[in-house]
Amino acid sequence: MQIGIKLAGCFCIIAAGWMTGWELERRLRQRWMFLKEMQELFLYLEKEMTYHRTTVETALREAAGNCATVLRDLLLTAADQVEQRRGELFRDIWEDAVRQTIPGSLLQQDQHDTVCEAAAALCGTDTVMQRTMLVKYAERFDEMSRQESQNCQEKGKLYRKLSTAAGVFIVIVLI
């Protein structure tokens, strides 16, 4: 009976360690997916805005339909605020939507700042400049997502191994 309880306890500790590693890896994967979607968003918006001249509200709503991460909430929130037209600058609308929808733990500070600054590429008077900025931001998010992909593979494995090892260590100490 006692051995059974001990085995169950050991299993729980190891499982908790493994789950912690898995959760940390999932966060890294979410960050990577978010940045990947940001890159795809800017490629999509470049076509929609500079060739088709779709309004920013429609373009954001259409792009949201293809998103699986919190980017979907960000785009829909920004589109809703654009529709309301409260007389603010687009930059403020975008930053407000970022604040409302993107969890603080999702992005690193520099990544968060880049997402906020991207508003400049979405609303401007000079279409030539806007096209250039949309392409530049797509490249920048592509670069970021590559780094995160690598990060995710390397750190993800490490997190899982470390947390499982920590679980095993606790079990050994307890035994």
Partner: protein, 323 residues
């Protein structure tokens, strides 16, 4: 109800701080003709032909230097809000110095012009806005319409007027009545070449003003190209254009006459003689291609004077109304 919606739609165009001033001053759309915004200068409103401003306390005043001074932030926010945060969608219009927004209102822009060769590529650092509010007056052509018809057919008509006398508003209502049909005249298919988006006031291709059920609109299209495109593609019975006067317009108008279409057009001028002195329109007037001339002018007594002449310059009708 309609007026309240119009007022709200105008407020929605403005930066939030200016919107608050307008709400305090209780400015209503029916009185407004123009809103002029210049960075660092007082906000100026044109209402019933007079200039006013709104003070920092939200009071309407005739002392313009007491008015709220527009900041660059307010001007940018207004510009973005006006365009639905999609300025790039109005790229082509902006190169011509204006954009037309929902409701048919026309926004004039000025700032730093960026050129590539002799072509304007864009306007940057926009610091001056002129919001001209569209006021459609349904029925303003009722009194002149009977004089534009002969044996149930519309006459080739030229509306002559100096700026600000309402020639575009009159032309818009004539188009609507010709398209829908009016007493003694069945409805005609009308093709409108709206080079500056003033007649139809198209927003994303949809006319914001009522131009009638049989009207097709070529928006933002040069007149000379547009008239030929309509003739080839839309089989119009009547073609309407605003502000003739370019060097190519005369040739295109002659083509319209030759194709058997009826033409309604406007031109800047003060009289038939004045128009005949214009180089590009001289041939048209001398050959008496226009069968009716509507001359609009300001009248000291009541506001606007409307005269209708036939091809020989005989006065057929005269009316004086408030502007």
């Amino acid at each position: 109800m309609k007026e309240r919606m119009e007022t709200e739609s105008i407020y929605r165009m403005l930066a939030s701080s200016i919107r608050q001033l307008f709400e305090k001053a209780q400015i209503r759309s029916e009185h407004l003709q123009e809103i002029r915004m210049r960075t660092g200068r007082p906000l100026i409103l044109r209402m019933a032909g007079e200039e006013y401003t709104v003070t920092e306390r939200g009071e309407l005043s005739e002392e313009l230097d007491q008015g709220h001074r527009i900041t660059a932030h307010e001007l940018d926010a207004t510009l973005e809000s006006i365009s639905g945060y999609s300025l790039y969608a109005f790229d082509e219009e902006m190169k011509q110095g204006f954009l037309t927004v929902q409701g048919g209102h026309r926004i004039g822009l000025a700032g730093r012009i960026v050129t590539a060769g002799r072509q304007i590529s864009c306007i940057r650092h926009i610091s001056f806005l002129n919001i001209r509010l569209s006021h459609e007056i349904i029925g303003c052509a009722d009194s002149v319409m009977p004089h534009l018809l002969q044996n149930g057919m519309l006459c080739h008509t030229l509306i002559i007027s100096p700026p600000g006398c309402g020639k575009t508003t009159l032309l818009r209502d004539i188009i609507r009545q010709v398209s829908d049909g009016t007493g003694g005249c069945t409805g005609h298919t009308v093709g409108v070449v709206d080079e500056r988006s003033e007649l139809a006031g198209c927003w994303l291709g949809v006319p914001q003003n009522d131009l009638g059920m049989r009207t097709d609109v070529l928006d933002c299209c040069p007149k000379e190209d547009g008239m030929m495109m309509l003739l080839r593609s839309m089989s119009p019975q009547v073609i309407a254009v605003d502000e003739l006067g370019g060097s190519e317009d005369g040739y295109a108008v002659e083509n319209v006459f030759r194709c058997g279409c009826r033409l309604i057009a406007t031109v800047h001028g003060s009289s038939i003689q004045d128009v005949r002195q214009k180089k590009h329109l001289d041939a048209l007037s001398r050959n008496m291609l226009f069968e009716r001339y509507i001359v609009l002018s300001r009248s000291d007594v009541s506001g606007r004077r409307t005269e209708v002449f036939d091809a020989d310059g005989e006065l057929l009708y005269v009316e004086e109304t408030g502007l």
